[in-house]
Amino acid sequence: MSENYVPSSKFGKWFNDRLPLLTLSKHLTDYPTPKNLNYWWTFGGILTFCLISQIITGIVLGMHYVAHADMAFNSIEHIMRDVNYGWLIRYIHSNGASMFFLAVYIHIFRSLFYGSYRSPREIIWILGMLIYLLMMATAFMGYVLPWGQMSFWGATVITNLFSAIPLVGESIVTWLWGGYSVDNPTLTRFFSLHYLFPFLILGLVVLHIWALHVPGNNNPIGIDIKKPSKDTVPFHPYITIKDLFALLIFMIIFSGFIFFAPNILGHSDNYIEANPLVTPKHIVPEWYLLPFYAILRAVPDKLGGVVLMLGSIFILMALPWLDSSKVRSTVFRPLYKKFFWLLVIDVLALGYVGAMPAEGLYLLIARVGTIYYFAHFLIVLPVLSRIEKTEPVPLSISEPVLGGMLKPEMARSDRKDV
């Protein structure tokens, strides 16, 4: 076990007694991981890659970018045209944000499906939600930096949300802007914070992984396992090679965007320099914020919209206590499984209508979608977790039949979702 690890070299032992980095690295290598983890579990590693790649490309971009309302737009074009491989670095960074969110959504839905947020992993889940919140703030501020039309008007719309707060709303908005409209002071502070937040995220990621290493990974059948045992494999090389393979597949998709469709996820209006006198026809946020935008616009009242939008994120933090089912993994919850996929469709639908004008059928879909979103967590999940008749759960990963299974076929390893 890594706790009793003694480095073989004399220097190593001397160093490790003073700062146990080698013990840590031994712990990370030996870390017992359930052997039945599927590819949905590779997104943790992919997300770490995304964060590091965003930080590195971001630092380089920061060397050439000028955070000034009169110069920001042209400095981006300077990066795109005159900086050596500037176009590559910027496209990695801008598409990287989208890929980051794609990965984080898969990571979150994986956690929802397999009950990874449940006891004893509540803190991991809450830390993850905080990371997600910071990611949204960082991405939003990053989108403002090119100072195009969508940057400017997106910033105006989102910061204006704070004006819905009774009494102090207007003052808060002025304070956020550093003036009476989105202008140069807003841009410079967004740049400063956009540079800071990724490092806060990095800190939270360390805590997230630390908290993960206390109980260890959840697994597709959602049972507690003995560690180390026949049910586990050491992290290295089994999980590292699997994560690497998944990461490479992810990078192929990522490269497809960077090299062959680098602007497809962005909005063309952002290649028009910000102009406070011309409002774009439809102001839309980046795709990854669209479901929340749909919720915001579904409510006829501004304050109500803001409350529901924030509520839709904070409700997730209460998830470990809303779900009281005795079974962790949705694999063994036939009824809840249906509602889970309904939630997935619901969020996709909300994202879709978020990109459309808030009128007619779109608005109706947004309202129904919003109602279901909250009903899912506040009604369906608590009620189902009490009344649902779950399927029998195997007692261990490798020896389910000996464990007194009622339905041995449940544990067959060829089941796609196990």
Partner: protein, 261 residues
């Protein structure tokens, strides 16, 4: 599970077909589609089309539209029109550039150099707006990326001038163009047959000029497109081979565990 997945797919299909139908009914006139040489993963610019496009830009568009982000030197760089060094110098020298202040504190003009940015037709946005009936002719450097539909859109607008249908109200200085929002545009039809004379003998039809100038504008918006495509193909090949090797290693390593069963 399969059953569930099928249901999931069917539900999403129904949902998206409903909403897409609604979108379709609202959609504007379909853009003209051109088989651009720069499309696709190995797409490249047609060198002579870029050179002709530059001629159309500089002889027609540049009388109103600026191109602030592009320098004359770019015209000679790989992946662009690739004019020779002497041609670029000659092109730049055609323009009068304001420089200064000199030792006496005065501004002066001098012939352009390759390192200069394209000279703008107007001193500022306000002057450009005033000279064009209150409509600012947008800077063309990134125009292709700044419009939904990109190259197809620019080409369509250039080809979209028509006589307005009966009963269509047009104010003074506004023209009918079926690809514009509201079908109105404040720019009169800039291209007419033979308005430029191509030095390579290509027939200067409207469609030819529209195609050439759109190609040129696509390059100014994305000057590193060719490098990007070339690098992308290499990266994809590398990643595919590498992931295959990693996959085989993974199978090998995991076979130790799988054989324990």
């Amino acid at each position: 599970m399969c059953n569930l997945k099928a249901r999931f797919i069917i539900l999403s299909l129904i949902f998206f077909s409903i909403t897409f139908n609604q979108v379709k009914s609202e959609e504007k006139t379909k853009l003209l589609k051109v088989d651009w040489s720069f499309k696709g993963i190995t797409g490249k610019f047609d060198r002579s089309s870029l050179q002709r496009g530059y001629q159309v830009y500089t002889e027609v568009c540049a009388s109103c539209h600026s191109m602030n982000l592009v320098s004359y030197r770019n015209l000679g760089e790989p992946g662009g029109p690739e004019f020779s060094v002497d041609q670029v110098k000659a092109i730049a020298a055609n323009f009068e550039v304001e420089d200064g202040p000199n030792a006496d504190g005065d501004m002066f003009t001098r012939p352009g150099r390759p390192s200069d940015k394209f000279v703008s037709p107007y001193p500022n946005v306000q002057a450009a707006t005033a000279a064009n009936g209150g409509a600012y002719p947008p800077d063309m450097s990134v125009l292709v990326k700044a419009r939904k539909g990109g190259s197809d859109y620019i080409y369509s607008v250039l080809m979209g001038y028509e006589d307005p249908p009966a009963g269509f109200e047009l104010e003074d200085g506004v023209y009918y163009n079926k690809y514009m929002d509201g079908k109105k545009i404040k720019m009169s039809n800039p291209l007419s047959e033979g308005i430029v004379t191509y030095s390579d003998g290509t027939d200067a039809t409207e469609a030819q000029m529209a195609k050439d100038v759109t190609t040129f504008l696509t390059w100014t918006a994305e000057p590193h497109l060719e490098t990007r495509h070339k690098m992308g193909v290499k990266v994809l090949i590398f990643l595919t081979i590498f992931s295959l090797l990693v996959y085989l290693s993974m199978k090998r390593i995991w076979s130790r565990i799988d054989s324990e069963k």
